[in-house]
């Protein structure tokens, strides 16, 4: 069987699995048809539908309200940001907070630093996690199992416990206050999770695929690169997102390891809270700006993320 045929088989299998799921049944007019067994928000019973919609709305409010409130606060005047009791909508809309935040010295540099650090950290995580996870899932050895458990254990160590020694080590090798040093530190956070995530994605890929590839003349690495990696590309996207976010939002290591040259934006955002007061408006404005790249990245990779999650969900 050719590799292309095998890929098609895999895609068909996933499509079949997806197709087997209950889907909304619509009438020719587009509305749901009565008497058909439907699930989720398209459920036939009105009470079920109502409950589900309420739950959905509650979840949306729970997750979305803090960000919406942050966004609205960023457009409030200084006195409006500290109103007692708090108000949701600004009494007077202003962009002065954005001007203050972005005009503050070091903010633009910090955003560049954040991008540098997060990209390097994500690439490092993927470069290490993909082969590690592949090895663990394909060669089911005792050492592999110990390794993956050990990777999990490192997630349980409080970052502050390794932050200070790591900062000293970086300083001793002349790498203090550099994005690369911070990226390495961030990789220690994201790597264990990346390995675990990638392991679950590799588990979902049938061995038959690689065997077919090797029969067709591929080496093991060739099969990994030409067959397995394309199949788990959604999983790689999911892992990349998690690794990127872990670095993008990280605060403690950035606090301990950066100074003038490589300070990242989370530290700058925190600097709006001083011993003498809290500049809510500027803080929320910069936080809103800082969240834009992540939102865009998530939207851009949305299809890959969903595909990756589906891949993990149908394994076995």
């Amino acid at each position: 069987m050719s590799i292309a045929h095998k890929e098609t088989t895999m895609e068909t299998r996933i499509t079949t699995t997806t197709a087997a799921r209950p889907t909304a049944v619509t009438s020719p007019g587009g509305g749901p048809r009565r008497g058909v067994n439907r699930e989720g928000l398209e459920a036939g019973k009105r009470s079920t539908r109502t409950i589900l919609w309420i739950l959905l709305a509650a979840s949306l409010v729970l997750y979305g309200f803090p960000f919406v409130y942050l966004l609205l606060t960023s457009f409030k005047t200084p006195i409006d940001t500290i109103a007692v009791p708090p108000t949701i909508l600004p009494k007077e809309w202003t962009v002065v907070n954005y001007m203050n935040a972005l005009g503050r010295g070091g903010v633009v540099a910090s955003i560049i630093n954040s991008v540098q650090t997060a990209v390097i950290s994500t690439l490092l995580s993927l470069l290490l996690a993909v082969p590690a996870a592949y090895g663990i899932t394909r060669y089911k050895t005792l050492s592999g199992r110990v390794f993956i458990m050990a990777a999990l254990v490192t997630r349980m160590v409080p970052p502050v416990a390794i932050g200070i020694p790591l900062a000293s080590m970086m300083a001793s090798v002349g790498m203090s206050d550099t994005p690369i040093a911070l990226a390495i530190a961030h990789t220690t956070i994201s790597l264990p999770l990346s390995i675990w995530l990638m392991s679950s994605f590799f588990e979902a890929v049938p061995r038959d695929l690689e065997e077919a590839a090797t029969v067709d003349g591929c080496s093991r690495l060739g099969a990994l690169w030409r067959v397995v990696v394309p199949v788990v590309s959604g999983g790689i996207a999911v892992t990349a997102i998690f690794a990127f976010l872990a670095s993008w939002n990280e605060f403690l290591f950035a606090l301990l390891m950066t100074a003038i040259r490589s300070q990242t934006t989370p530290v700058v955002i925190a600097n709006f809270q001083t011993q003498f007061g809290l500049d809510w408006g500027s803080m929320t404005a910069l936080a809103a700006v800082y969240s834009i790249p992540v939102i865009l990245l998530t939207l851009l990779l949305q299809r890959k993320i969903v595909a990756g999650m589906t891949l993990g969900a149908v394994k076995g």
């Binding site: 890929e7 900062a167 301990l256 100074a259 490589s262 001083t274 003498f276």
Partner: protein
Amino acid sequence: MSSRKTISRLVAIGGICTAVVLAATGCGAGGPAASGSTASNTINVLVEAGGHAELAGVADVCKKETGIEANFVELPYEGLFNRLSSEFSSGNVSFDVAALDSVWIPSFKDAVQPIDELFTDEAKKDIFPALVKEANVNGHFIGMPAWTNAEIILYRKDLFEDAKNKADFKAKYGYELAAPTTWKQYQDISEFFTKDGMFGTDVKGAVETEWLAHVLQAGSPMVLDDKNNVVIDNAAHKEALDFYTSLVKSAPSGAAQVDWAAAQNLFNQGKTAMTRFWAHAYRQIPKDAAVFGKVGAAPMIGGSAGVAGVPGPWYLSVPKATKNSDAAKKFIKCAYDHNDLGIESKLGLAARISAFEKYQDKPGYESFKPLIQTLNAKATATRPATAKWQQIVDTVLTPTLQKAVAGGDSSALLAEAKTKVQALLK
């Protein structure tokens, strides 16, 4: 588009990104490296974010006068302590001058070098007595005050000057309505203005400094005496705590959770008629606030020992580990010489008496005279010099205060607090 093409594109984009990023990483985006340990005319100054503005003007002048360029590393308050701890303990510092909160002096006293030569007789006369005492550790001066603060009384001038309020107050309490100078007056005025949805004052249960100022006013050292005996259960502490909790009925509910930010908000929103607050807040009232232009300032109130406050100074210190000591000390000397420049900053504070006096009669600086009086008061004292102070505050003083403002028995709470503080100091 096939998966393989997608992967190829991602790899290509990733490769380009990596190359660009790694190339850019060589110099970073923020400026020069924070090496901090090589002798040069450039120094790194580690400072809390709020204090940066205080030194920015000074740095410009010092560059012109001495040729020393200061790069500031700004960190949030909590993070600054962690950073200082980690770098001092490793012996590898990335800064040449550090701005230290006064409560950190005992913790870092062995990591910074003496700067006795900067404390001339003239300088010692121009710095508030409590600060001169605090900066001197084991016979050496280890930090030059850069700016200081203290709590004063901020009150609603418009309400105090209102004819009806004046008449009603006199009829009820038998004396003229004016800015309070004693505990009794503060209680009366707080009670008087607690009406029609407004409150006379706030009670801050989540921060301990104000209660400790009242302890000084009652004639006792704060928590520890000069021999490090725990005196938190003495009569003055109880008297101060009882006064503090007596104001709860004239304050907004939820006193246990009220901290500096909440109290400042309440006052700026016009919800309270008076507040005991750090002097810098007078100049930070937003122009669109309900109380803008209607606020008066007075010295901190006094108890049996008179007026007293707890100063909140920051000191500039030179780490022992820096190799740039000379430039660092020159910068500190320059910062002292031009200390008044800090007053022009957003925070608007200084450390030298002469700097405050230079501005005290100018419009907009009405809080300076009360601040000078409070800082010069005989009973004013800095916090006890123990490295465990922050721990005592977090684990004993604040919880004790929160229980007290919630209605707890003051004697029992102070006795319990004494045991806990003693255990911490063992």
